[in-house]
């Protein structure tokens, strides 16, 4: 089989805004609290970078230019993009629209923190073109929110959600996190029901992951906080699958559910290995088995862009076996599965037998149990050398 390139397909644009009110203990994103004063300069740098990547004639050799690229989605992430004024975010989007060719029906999302939005600001955002909203709810249990060091309350999530509806938002995602210290199955069950009661179009539910370089990681390493119990998280995943299915959500990626037709097209782009442009500090870009990323420190990022340089921090070229591995684990994550013919039958048979993968019309798709064990499954399925790239 050949891992196909998707170069001709429309790209997604990811815009990273690294400023936050506070840092949450579990978060290992490239985000900073207390650097707000850099924001105006940073927004200018973002727009300058967009022009740079869209193609400066005679630019030094490096990553491909995006001149003339079609753009099917834009995603503003962070950090907390909604700490910036709707007017500034409107200007930013306007600049992107001028720089790239947005396709008809382009999906434009911004992440939003419940405490940083109200009906007025949301109306402005929507008017500016941000038609999809992704809000960090995390939990409806105060104790769990406290354990996650989130400042907002369940009420502010409900208020922000109501405001979004009032502002005309008809495509909203709520992010949830499960398995924090102190959270029980019952509490998680309630959080899910509260979420379902709000009826967002899209729900992301993430098992809390302990990253070593975070305050939470250090607390776990030193024994102050217990590590999340993987079996309890597995039970919680099971509850989520069941309740969300009953509520009419389609499970379309390990941690993502949506009402039919409301899957996040931007994120699907990552998983389907379509090209994407990353703008901002630490943002990743990808095209044609080539991936590169910007330098992470915001100041360095801005300095370089201001000098007219591409702020590249690193890059990698995927060889056929890298590409194959990514193809397999990404396809498995979105339940698209892989052709049964890619895997030796002797290798896949025990997993089919034990109910971790299903063979549906010669496609191997992880079951609900299998999805939770994808790392192991993918390792087992790709343990043999990748199939010939030329056949």
């Amino acid at each position: 089989m050949t891992v196909e390139a998707h170069a001709e397909e429309p790209a997604g644009i990811y815009v990273h805004i690294p400023f936050c009110l506070t840092r949450c203990g579990y978060c290992d994103f490239n985000a900073y609290a207390g650097l707000d004063h850099l924001a105006p300069r940073y927004l200018r740098a973002l727009m300058a970078e967009a022009s740079l990547v869209a193609g400066v004639p005679g630019r030094a050799p490096g990553p491909p230019t995006w001149e003339g690229a079609e753009v099917a989605s834009v995603f503003l992430g962070g950090g907390t993009p909604t700490m910036q004024t709707p007017a500034d975010l409107a200007t930013l989007l306007g600049r992107l629209r001028e720089t790239f060719h947005f396709t008809t029906g382009v999906e434009i999302t911004t992440e939003a923190n419940p405490d940083t939005v109200d009906e007025t600001s949301l109306s402005s955002l929507r008017e500016a073109g941000y038609e999809r909203l992704s809000m960090g709810a995390q939990s409806f249990d105060l104790a769990v929110l406290a354990s996650l060091e989130r400042l907002h309350s369940p009420d502010s999530v409900r208020a922000a959600f109501t405001a979004a509806r009032a502002a005309g938002y008809d495509n909203v995602n709520l992010d949830l996190i499960y398995g924090a210290h102190g959270e029980t199955i019952d509490s998680w069950d309630r959080t899910l029901r509260e979420t379902i009661a709000l009826a967002p179009e899209h729900i992301s539910a993430y098992a809390l992951t302990v990253e070593p370089s975070t305050p939470l990681g250090r607390a776990v390493a030193s024994g102050v906080t217990p590590e999340p119990d993987p079996d309890l998280q597995a039970d919680m995943f099971g509850v989520a699958c069941e309740l969300l299915r009953e509520a009419g959500y389609r499970h379309y990626e390990v941690s993502n559910w949506a009402k039919p037709g409301f899957e996040c097209r931007h994120n699907l782009g990552y998983w389907e290995r379509r090209p994407y442009v990353g703008l901002g500090a630490g943002a990743h870009s990808y095209r044609d088995n080539h991936r590169w990323w910007n330098t992470r420190p915001p100041e360095e990022y801005m300095d370089r862009v201001e000098r007219g340089e591409l702020p590249i921090g690193g890059e990698e070229h995927l060889d056929p076996s890298d590409a194959y591995l990514e193809e397999v684990f990404l396809r498995m994550r979105i339940l698209e599965g892989i052709p049964a013919s890619w895997i030796d039958e002797q290798v896949s048979a025990p997993f089919i037998e034990s109910g971790l993968i299903a063979d549906e019309f010669d496609t191997l798709i992880p079951t609900e149990r299998g999805m939770l064990l994808l790392n192991e499954l993918v390792l087992a399925l790709t343990a043999e050398a990748s199939p010939s790239q030329t056949s």
Partner: protein, 608 residues
């Protein structure tokens, strides 16, 4: 000055020092070198005679060494003996090279089993004993108590017991004088055909095999053509000399003298400890000296390279080690779990430990050793099959009986712990022979025990239940029939040969339970439930389950996460490749090592 010609026997004294570890033998040897000006102060270093790093680190003597001291017109040959039960035969050959022994006892700690065992060996060999209490300057010393104890044991006048401090040198001159006065000179006739006893043999990378010898009869000239009796090998010897303490060539060695011979041989198996050297041809003796014995392995273990690819390196290392270790046996072994390796035979646990450590240290190998076991005799009608690998043990019902090797164990304990010693021995299938009070506070007790129990954890148990006060020594005591069974360990239904062990039927359940519990902690969760079972034949005697892993997936995998995720998977894949597969179960290397560790018993054994 070292004389180049033989000294008259009347002016020779050959002696050794019998002592427990830490009782000051090496310190005394150092002091003797100094007092006799054999080594001048500026050249002195601690434990001068212990040449191997391992010897110095562990404070033990593995190889016998001899050194010639010149004192008041006398030639004094100090023969340093190995100090461990594994090397009892080597000790006996060193003793056979002497006429006297200094029995050195720590004035604080008193007699220990090993000293006692070696004292008995020395006495049985007809040696004159020169008793000395060492460390009399220590605050904890109890010289009167210890003098009484020693006098009672030796049946001697308390005034004959010397009091010394090897550390400060106090009394060392008197000790030398006592050696000259009390130890008889050797006998021997320079005109008789040559008979020289090999009491140690080593391989030197530059000079080949060097033997340490005691001339009993005749003259051993330099550059002679010599013959080894046991192996019937002849060779052109290259050099005769003495250690004073550095190797010093001499013209010849005469009767009663101790020295070395550079044999011109390339393999220590051609010149073994206990063998007799004579001259080749008509001038040679027709009779060897009595007492030669082939080295016989007592303990067996499988050695496997931790990295499968190192097999040929392990083979090469064992070949090289064998050049200098005549007691080491090995043969290729294939384990389904551990791959290609070697079944190795050792004199005992210490010997095993030393070989393993030398392989790892000198040859930079990482090894997995299976649990040590003894050699069994399986009887089938008139046939006797020797089994030294649990994997080769026939199934129950296919043989008439099994015999296991026994030992005669000597233990010395403070009377307060007598109960603990008896309980421990009894619970390890020991049968008491006798016991006697050395003093009202200290008891000497003898048991006949299966060697397998000692190899398992007897010494650890004894030490822990007597707070370290009891000491142990043992010697082979024939074979005895026993109700033995092989316990297999199965992972997900697949037997893991590396974990099979032969134990007494009464212990099988405890052993099986312990092993499956230990493995449950060591085996990582897999994609399916893994049953860990212990079985005798088809009968399951213990079972544990490693529950299937339920969650192992990255929660978030967006644009910036994909490379990192892929690299993590690749790392995980490499980690998996380093695991051993048993059927469908991935078992990490460390699990084998940890599961097979017998509580570091072999290492602590050294400290007795």
């Amino acid at each position: 000055m070292t004389s180049l010609t033989p000294t008259d026997t009347s002016h020779i004294r050959n002696f050794c020092i019998v002592a427990h570890i830490d009782h000051g033998k090496s310190t005394l040897a150092d002091r003797l070198l100094e007092v006799t000006h054999t080594v001048e102060g500026r050249d002195m270093r601690a434990q001068y005679l212990d040449k191997m790093d391992l010897e110095r680190e562990r404070g033990i003597t593995i190889k016998a060494q001899s050194v010639r001291l010149a004192h008041e017109g006398y030639e004094l040959n100090l023969i340093d003996t190995p100090g461990h039960v594994d090397f009892t035969y080597e000790v006996s050959r060193s003793l056979a090279a002497c006429e006297g022994a200094v029995l050195l006892v720590d004035a604080a700690q008193g007699l220990e089993a090993q000293t006692l065992a070696n004292y008995h060996l020395a006495r049985d060999a007809g040696l004159v004993i020169v008793p000395a209490l060492n460390k009399i300057d220590l605050p904890a010393a109890e010289p009167e108590q210890r003098t009484k104890e020693l006098a009672a044991l030796l049946n001697c006048d308390p005034d004959d017991i010397l009091h010394i401090s090897a550390k400060s040198g106090a009394g060392v001159d008197a000790l030398l004088q006592a050696v000259i006065d009390r130890v008889p000179p050797p006998t021997g006739d320079a005109t008789k055909p040559l008979q020289a006893l090999i009491f140690d043999s080593m391989f030197d990378a530059y000079r080949g095999v060097i033997t340490y010898i005691r001339v009993k009869e005749g003259l051993l000239p330099s550059n002679a053509r010599v013959k080894m009796f046991a192996t019937r090998v002849e060779s052109e010897a290259e050099e005769t000399g003495v250690n004073a303490p550095e190797p010093t060539p001499v013209d010849s060695l005469g009767p009663g003298e101790v020295g070395y011979l550079v044999t011109g041989l390339k393999d220590v198996h051609q010149a073994k400890v206990g063998d007799t050297i004579t001259l080749a041809g008509k001038l040679g003796s027709t009779e060897p000296l009595p007492g030669y014995r082939e080295p016989k392995p007592m303990v067996w273990s499988g050695l496997f390279p931790a990295e499968g690819g190192d097999y040929s390196e392990l083979r090469e290392a064992l070949d090289r080690l064998k050049l200098s270790d005549a007691a080491l046996h090995f043969e290729p072994e294939v384990s389904t779990a551990l791959g290609f390796g070697f079944r190795c035979g050792f004199l005992g646990l210490l010997h095993m430990d030393i070989v393993k450590e030398r392989l790892e240290r000198e040859f930079d190998l990482e090894l997995i050793a299976t649990a040590p076991n003894v050699e069994f005799r399986v009887h089938r009608g008139d046939e006797v099959e020797i089994v030294h690998n649990p994997a080769e043990m026939p199934s129950p019902g296919t043989y008439d009986s099994i015999e296991e090797p026994m030992v005669y164990a000597t233990m010395i304990t403070p009377a307060d712990y007598l109960g603990a010693v008896m309980e421990t021995s009894q619970s390890r299938r020991g049968e008491m022979v006798d016991m006697s009070y050395i003093t009202p506070e200290r008891v000497e007790i003898h048991y006949v025990l299966p060697l397998a129990e000692i190899v398992f954890d007897f010494f650890d148990q004894l030490k822990s239940r007597t707070k370290g006060y009891a000491s142990l020594d043992y010697e082979p005591w024939g074979y005895q029939e026993a109700n033995l069974v092989r316990v297999d360990v199965l992972l997900h239904g697949e037997p893991v040969d590396a974990f099979s062990t032969i134990v007494h039927r009464d212990k099988a359940y405890t052993y099986g339970k312990q092993m499956v519990e230990r493995l449950r902690e060591l085996i990582p969760r897999q994609l399916f439930d893994v049953a860990i079972q212990a079985a005798i034949g088809a009968k399951i005697i213990a079972r544990e389950t490693v529950k299937a892993k339920r969650k192992d997936v990255t929660a978030k995998c967006y644009g910036g996460d994909i490379s990192r995720k892929r690299k993590l998977l690749e790392q995980q894949k490499k980690g998996k490749a380093r695991m051993r597969r048993v059927g469908r179960v991935d078992v990490p290397q460390e699990a084998f090592i940890a599961a097979l560790r017998v509580d570091d018993g072999a290492k602590r054994d050294v400290k007795k």
